[in-house]
């Protein structure tokens, strides 16, 4: 999620403790020193990861510290990975395969490209998955591994990002 606030003295420092108390993970702090022509421009943005159910406690914590939040933007799903699946995808109920990811609540299929060369031949598909966190992505891939095994599909996973 993205947190935007006014750049008044002490605001940024005051925001840090509530974020850490709520279990948030700060990804970036974007500090605009030059506010531009519109004097009301928001000039500090904090991009952070936060479990869904901690949102309220973070907002309360920030208020208690006297931080004035201008806007909270939510980019729910942060992690994107692409896999390829090969096999009888339609005959093995593709919508069920996709549904098993979408129904998790922490990951979803955001794009799907398919090639079906001929009837009765194996089809190939590229599936893009978005998830809330790296751990959630791992869980989503584990679901796909299990489903692929059950349905005799070949799952091609991406290489991990370098650590």
């Amino acid at each position: 999620m993205k947190l935007e606030m006014k750049d008044s003295p002490g605001q940024l420092v005051a925001a840090l403790k509530p974020i850490s108390d709520a279990g948030g993970n700060i990804i970036a702090v974007i500090h605009q020193r030059d506010p531009g022509p519109d004097s009301d421009t928001l000039n500090v943005q904090i991009v952070l990861e936060l479990p869904d159910d901690r949102r309220e406690s973070l907002i309360n914590g920030l208020k208690a510290q006297g931080v004035r939040i201008q806007r909270i933007g939510e980019e729910r799903l942060l992690y994107t990975r692409t896999v390829i699946m090969i096999g009888h995808l339609m005959h093995t109920d593709l919508s069920d395969t996709v549904g098993q990811i979408d129904s998790t609540g922490f990951a979803e299929v955001s794009a799907l490209s398919m090639c079906m060369p001929a009837i009765n031949e194996r089809s190939s598909s590229r599936i893009t998955i978005k998830a809330l966190s790296k751990t959630d992505m791992e869980s989503a891939l584990a679901i796909l591994r299990r489903v692929s095994k059950q349905k005799s599909l070949l799952l091609i996973e991406p290489m991990e990002e370098c650590t």
């Binding site: 390829i84 090639c115 060369p117 089809s123 070949l154 996973e157």
Partner: protein
């Protein structure tokens, strides 16, 4: 240093030629192929033996066999390059045992014994105060074992990723570059001499998995076997899958991966960005090591070939000569 050479296939011939040509101070005192052998404490004329092998298919006389050479010849180091048996390791394992028990050093390119009986052979070597070296078993000419042992000494190896089978990498390169189907690319690999008549061992990832077993047991002192590797081959890949990967600036390669912290030992086709250092062309091999101090190190080179594999064996021989034999 006196050496005995067991096996005169492509690797054995390469080793013999290089020993002859490079004047490294090695004397071959015993030699054997699958049908014949020769023992000569004064040193065997390599040129003559190779010519005889070419003409008759035998390197010596049929009354002398590999077992005789290993048990009786006077040598410091056994070069064991007979064909690999991935299921039992024999007869190579037996050859290596005999040599180590005679307090002879062993250099091998044979994956079977090292993948199957590593712990046993290593303790036997240690007990007899000799060295067992096997640089040539993994990734051909790439000096992975020397790199681990010396260049990266003191580093903790956190994980490794590798392209360890040239046949698979060739097939996948051709599928990606030319839009060939798996069957077409396999046929081309056969014509080029990169794939066997029965390609199972390569395309189902067995060869890569055996090499991964050797690396894991060497690096982390584990006792894993082929059965512990989560293995998927490339034989079910489609041309469309390669194209779908291509559309996103990626490709598909057979990747061997080990991460003991995650308890992950896997050989499987993976989507990989084309700019990734492990994306190498044709029959090349590549290995990325992730370490605590050096961070990522990638080695790329030829994974097979007569002289290329001889390079790894000669490196092991010189190491043994410098460390043990010359001093004595």
């Amino acid at each position: 240093m006196k050496v005995a050479l067991i096996g005169l296939g492509s690797v054995g011939r390469g080793v013999a030629e290089m020993i002859d040509k490079k004047h490294l101070g090695f004397t071959i005192t015993g030699i054997a192929d699958s049908k014949s052998g020769m023992i000569d404490a004064a040193g065997i004329d390599i040129g003559k033996v190779l010519a005889a092998k070419k003409a008759t298919g035998r390197c010596g006389t049929t009354d002398i066999r590999a077992d005789d050479v290993i048990a009786r010849a006077d040598y410091d180091t056994l070069i064991e390059v007979s064909p690999t048996n991935a299921l039992t390791g024999e007869p190579a394992s037996g050859y290596i045992r005999t040599a180590l028990s005679r307090k002879k050093h062993v250099v091998t390119s044979n994956k079977g014994p090292v993948a199957l009986q590593y712990q046993e052979l290593r303790s036997l070597a240690a007990k007899n105060g000799v060295s067992l070296r096997y640089e040539a078993t993994v990734a051909g000419a790439i000096p992975i074992m020397h790199t681990l042992e010396h260049g990266l000494a003191g580093n903790e190896i956190l994980a490794l990723y590798g392209v360890l089978n040239g046949t698979c990498n060739f097939i996948l390169t051709r599928m990606a570059d030319e839009g060939l189907t798996y069957d077409q690319a396999l046929m081309e690999a056969r014509e080029m001499g990169y794939a066997e008549a029965d390609p199972t061992y390569d395309v189902q990832g067995i060869d890569a998995a055996i090499k991964l077993v050797i690396l894991v047991n060497t690096i982390w002192g584990k006792k894993i076997t082929l059965a512990d590797i989560d293995r998927t081959g490339i034989d079910l890949l489609t041309a469309e899958a390669l194209r779908l990967a291509e559309e996103e600036g990626s490709t598909i390669r057979l990747i061997a991966e080990a991460s003991p912290k995650k308890n992950l030992f896997r050989v499987s086709p993976r989507i990989i960005e084309k700019t990734h250092p492990l994306v190498v062309e044709g029959t090349l091999n590549a290995l990325t090591l992730e370490t605590d101090m050096a961070k990522q190190i990638t080695l790329i080179g030829r994974g097979a070939g007569s002289i290329e594999t001889a390079s790894a064996i000669i490196g092991d021989l010189l190491f043994i000569r410098d460390r043990y034999v010359q001093r004595a």
